[in-house]
Symmetry: none
Subunit: 304 residues, 2 copies
Amino acid sequence: MAKSPKISVSHEPGGLIVHISGLLPSLSPAEQRVARLVVADPADAARRTITDLATAAETSEATVIRFCRSVGMDGYPQLRIRLAAEAARRIEPPDARVVGGDIPPGADLAQIIATIAFNDARAVEETAQQLDPAVCEQVVEAIVGAGRIEVYGAGASGFVASDFQQKLHRIGRIAFSFPDVHTALTSAALLGKGDVAVGISHTGTTSDVIEVLEQARTRGAVTVALTNFPRSPITEVADFVLTTAARETTYRSGAMASRLAQLTVVDCLFVGVAARNRARARRALEVTAEAVRTHRVGGSRRRS
Amino acid sequence: MAKSPKISVSHEPGGLIVHISGLLPSLSPAEQRVARLVVADPADAARRTITDLATAAETSEATVIRFCRSVGMDGYPQLRIRLAAEAARRIEPPDARVVGGDIPPGADLAQIIATIAFNDARAVEETAQQLDPAVCEQVVEAIVGAGRIEVYGAGASGFVASDFQQKLHRIGRIAFSFPDVHTALTSAALLGKGDVAVGISHTGTTSDVIEVLEQARTRGAVTVALTNFPRSPITEVADFVLTTAARETTYRSGAMASRLAQLTVVDCLFVGVAARNRARARRALEVTAEAVRTHRVGGSRRRS
DNA sequence: GCGGCTCATGAAAGTAAGTTTCATCCGTGG
DNA sequence: CCACGGATGAAACTTACTTTCATGAGCCGC
């Protein structure tokens, strides 16, 4: 009939709240009361039930529904969801995370957590960014074709080395890592052409690791260095150099982030190797997973 | 009577989605189907009605309600709203890198690197987000006051355990970690009041670690669990539970990201402990750094 | 002032959504 | 084999949402 209702409300792409306050004056008094509540605190409105909201606006549920329709929603539930989404979006976490390096002396745990996580995450991202896929490819190639792989690392890097060794081992590659220099040296002396030696050192100056890598190279093995410093001594004994990108902070936090970055590189190499023979790697993983299964307790589910 | 299953499974301040995926394995099969739908597309789930969602998950409405309760919501409407809010918050959809997903078979190294780095970084960030500072504080407190600290972990988590042990040791705390269960068990048997035992297990189902932690608890030590799954068996033998937030993926990439997340938590605890006595920790760090100095080559010059 | 009109409004009826209860089923361990 | 406990969906039930409809206020033109 005559008066076509307020259709053509278009698609309010930007903000629902803005949209609502825009057509607020065109609403009936009772609907305006609802609208004002909604605009004032969208998140709160989203939490309320229709009856609740109606009561708060001193009106009936029917009016709330009419309001929903007036602003272009199908019904109340839809409005609620849109409001929740809207409210969530506008609350941008100001998040005063300490961007720089060190943790301030008076920091509480929450700050410490935020700082560490931020630096860790950034180290991982930046490492990935500067990692040269071509070099990785060559290293993966070498590992895939290797008769034997040895991984060296001291201190914290030693754990990364062990981790890498374990990973390679799990997908059926013959890999070793060593707890001490002497064992490593003797083992490196037995390497030959077609074998691969990987040395991990954050600073790139760990003499033990360099020494072993040098030995390996002398024997004809392909040598790979993983370090944070592209000009450090370890790079001189390496055929391929992979670098992490943990920023220099004080030695502590720097080393912490670096270790995560190292692991990320290790993961990349690992997946690269595994991807070379998907079926075989998967099979190996399944078998090894099965092997430890009896060491897992069953139903992890539990209700009270 | 109040059959209150209100176990208050921690707070989930960070991300509801993250929280849900952590809880996933502790859910019943039918609930898992619902959870997967929700995690896969929160925005879509928020749009659906309960009946609709139940049908999509091939289950009944009752199960959906049970799922809501399992993840700590009052009911379905509340879940819907939270999901809508959550979905709105995540602004950037980095389409190319498969979110929390597997690496596509045909991927080249560059893609692999991007995917891994993305998931690793996110695991770190999300872990930090959902980490409860209050619980950390208590754990730090316990460690600071501990006579002895023991850290247990098997497989990949074993390296994390060793790393933690090494860190604590470097700042002058008496800490141990063990390469095998028997040694660990015998050592745990010697723990007592005032000591701290930390068990690390991604799945939370590693029976060896659980067993040792239980032993430690029996002896009166404070027990801490570090796991990805807040309702896994390990949490039942722990006084304090710290969780990581790596998403479940296939191909073990989940476990890869999880390990980084674990290290992040370890770092947080470490710095927290060190911060308790800054001067002493710094002195210890300097001394230990000095100790390995002779094993470093100087400058960019080759060592002889 | 008075019919007749329009429109906002809420009460109440009606429908759909969400929640609880309960019987059944299935696997597990004795 | 049975007893048990948990998982599950059908159905009963409750609450939330939506529609219908009667009321009454405002507003003309007569």
